[in-house]
């Protein structure tokens, strides 16, 4: 997957590139709108990540150009200017997603995955974990013929997020941000992830051992897969 990162904050660009490269994306970066505009006109990308707050270019214009010269590319708007109107304009102009800063790199990857699933259809939307089968398309967890039916939406979201970042330890902050991200409230440290994980384990244990869901002491949680 070819990704173009248009972001004038070099330090952030470097981290995004490092992370995405580590996840098998091929990245190109540019720090200003002019060079981005040239790249968009000449190269083809699968993803274009556009920072709206470029010093030399109106980010939304860049989005229009991307839609014209790279109609196949999925565009994700990144911005610190979380103006509500910007968001609406961006989505109206054909952006596939909108990620306000500060965002988690895991969240960025998860959004990109979601777009891939939407655009190209994910091949293996059914994942086998130990004795369990997770169906990401129909959002179900099953054990043999039995469907674990009391898994809540939040609990499934957690499992799916960990599954997407499988074999990688996710901190409570990262998980929290994923499932509570849209809620604005004044608890900075209340962490209900442990309670959620406890519930998930309890529900799955009724069917079989969820030994693939590991607690990493002092760090967080991870889902281990063999492949």
């Amino acid at each position: 997957m070819n990704v173009l990162i248009v972001e004038d904050e070099k330090a952030l660009t470097v981290e995004m590139e490092l992370f995405l490269t580590g996840n098998n994306y091929i990245c190109e970066t540019c720090f200003d709108g002019q060079s981005a505009s040239e790249k968009i006109a000449t190269n083809l990308y699968d993803f274009i990540l556009i920072d709206l707050g470029l010093p030399d270019y109106e980010g939304l214009d860049l989005l229009k150009e991307a839609k014209r010269y790279n109609p196949e590319a999925a565009c994700i708007i990144l911005t610190a200017r979380a103006e509500v109107t910007d968001r609406i304009k961006g989505l109206d102009l054909g952006a596939d997603d909108y990620l306000p800063k500060p965002f988690s790199l895991l969240e960025l990857q998860s959004r990109m995955q979601a777009i891939i699933r939407r655009k190209f259809g994910l091949k293996n939307s059914v994942v086998v974990l130990g004795e369990f089968v997770i169906d990401l398309t129909n959002r179900t967890v099953s054990h043999g013929d039995a469907v674990v039916n009391n898994i809540t939406k939040k609990e499934f979201d957690l499992v799916a997020y960990m599954l997407l970042h499988k074999n990688r330890t996710l901190t409570r902050s990262q998980l929290s941000e994923h499932i509570w991200g849209s809620v604005v409230n004044d608890d900075y440290d209340s962490n209900y992830i442990d309670a959620h994980i406890k519930n998930i384990r309890k529900k799955l244990n009724a069917y079989g051992p969820p030994d693939w869901l590991e607690t990493v002491r002092g760090l967080g949680y991870r889902i281990n897969t063999n492949n």
């Binding site: 904050e9 440290d189 209340s190």
Partner: protein
């Protein structure tokens, strides 16, 4: 009471007092004038008589020691008498006395005067009946009273008219500049036309004050908005760096534990910044109000989101809101956050095994939702401050929060013109009452 009403009242009252005074004084005044006039007339008559009787003239009237007397035969309005005065004293008086004339006792105003002709003392009396003196008093009084009433009525009318005219700009200033005032204001300055310099000064001063307040508000909002935005990028960079480091395999677990700690602290910073930004965006009216929301469903959604926190504390939550209540022209995201923060607070400050009751009911034809908890409550002195930003109370020191939950609630409520009333009793619980304005109720 309005200034105009006060002035009218005072005008009317003061004129009423004048009328009453006048009515009370008028008879005495007229009597006094009549008396003086009569006395003058009597003295003139006396002088005429004295001229006539100088020298031998007296003998034309008094013969053989018999006194002279004359009066209007029929009406007995006036009389004159002259007689020899045996007592040798000087009299010159005017006074009211009764006289018996042909069997009628009549009250007269009488001038008595003694004079000498030769060696003889004479007493002259000239009288005018009191009835004739006072005859003109009543019509005079009536006419004076009528004229007075007319004048008073006219002046009241004129006063009323003028004060209304003069005070009209003041009324306009109050109506357009003060009563309708709401921040942030978007209405341009419109001068109130007046020839009264005081009002002109008042108008311009109020305008200047509004502008000062407005610009202070504006600056605060801009500052919060800019500061939050500016903070987002560095936070974003730090967050990415920590995530990448955490994901790296070369780093051992001790360091990773510290990275987790850093991430938590960064989250706190992020949370505060996001909350401030949200409040400033609401205050800058950047959110659209285009959603239609079913109240019961929305609260259920919040409940699903929050149920894990209720479970942790074993809190029972009952929701009893009519299914058919819906809100139109609102922002769903904001209302979700309003209820989330309210219910979250109700859970946070609740006791183990406590209760939260969410009830929808009608009150004065308006829809009201109560969020009541059985928590630690808020003391009376803290109650007025709970919506202030960063106001931390002893109760929240136990909790990991920074005191922006209720300010969010307040901003969102104000944005939707939802009224909030809080009642609380320490140790027993708090109730947050949301009163929805009729215009957003869609049912």
């Amino acid at each position: 009471m309005k200034l105009g009403t006060k002035l009218t009242l005072f005008n009317t009252l003061s004129k009423l007092v004048i009328v009453v005074l006048f009515v009370l004084l008028l008879p005495a005044l007229i009597r006094d004038i009549n008396t003086k006039y009569t006395d003058n007339w009597l003295r003139n008559q006396k002088d005429k008589v004295l001229k006539l009787v100088q020298g031998p003239g007296i003998n034309n009237y008094i013969k053989n020691g018999e006194g002279y007397g004359s009066y209007n035969a029929l009406l007995k309005e006036e009389y004159i008498s002259m007689d020899i005065d045996s007592a040798n004293e000087k009299i010159d008086t005017i006074g009211n006395e009764p006289r018996l004339v042909e069997g009628d006792t009549i009250q007269y105003r009488i001038l008595s005067h003694t004079f000498k002709v030769g060696k003889q003392n004479y007493l002259l009396e000239i009288g005018k009946s009191v009835r004739t003196i006072n005859e003109t008093a009543t019509p005079l009084q009536n006419i004076a009273f009528e004229i007075l009433l007319g004048m008073v009525f006219l002046t009241i009318l004129a006063d009323q008219f003028y004060s209304t005219y003069v005070l009209r700009p003041l009324g306009r200033i109050i109506k357009t500049k003060l009563i309708a005032l709401k921040f942030p204001t978007h209405t341009p300055y419109r001068k109130v036309h007046t020839s009264t310099s005081d009002f002109e000064y008042l108008d311009i001063s109020i305008h200047k004050m509004i502008m000062t307040i407005e610009s202070a508000f504006q600056k605060e909002r801009e500052f919060i908005s800019n500061a939050s935005h500016e903070l987002m990028t560095p936070i974003s960079i730090l967050q990415s760096k920590i995530e990448n480091m955490f994901g790296s395999e070369e780093i051992n677990d001790d360091v990773k534990e510290r990275l987790v700690e850093m991430q938590r602290i960064l989250n706190r910073l992020k949370s505060i910044t996001k909350t401030l930004l949200l409040i400033s965006q609401i205050e800058n009216e950047q959110f659209l109000k285009e959603d239609t929301v079913e109240v019961a469903a929305l609260i259920q959604e919040v409940y699903d989101e929050i149920s894990i926190r209720l479970q942790e504390k074993n809190i029972t939550c009952t929701i009893d809101v009519p299914e058919d209540w819906s809100l139109t022209r609102v922002n769903k995201f904001l209302l979700f956050n309003l209820f989330f923060n309210l219910i979250n607070n109700a859970a946070k400050y609740n006791k183990e095994g406590g209760e939260i009751n969410i009830t929808g009911r009608m009150e004065n034809k308006l829809c009201v939702v109560d969020v009541a908890d059985t928590g630690i409550g808020i003391s009376a002195e803290q109650l007025p401050q709970i919506f202030n930003r960063f106001k931390k109370f002893t109760r929240s020191l136990l909790q990991e929060s920074f005191g922006l939950g209720l300010p969010i609630v307040k901003s969102i409520a104000e944005f939707h013109k939802i009224k909030i009333e809080v009642s609380s009793e320490e140790g027993i619980g708090s109730t947050f009452k949301l009163i929805f304005p009729a215009e957003i109720m869609g049912k």
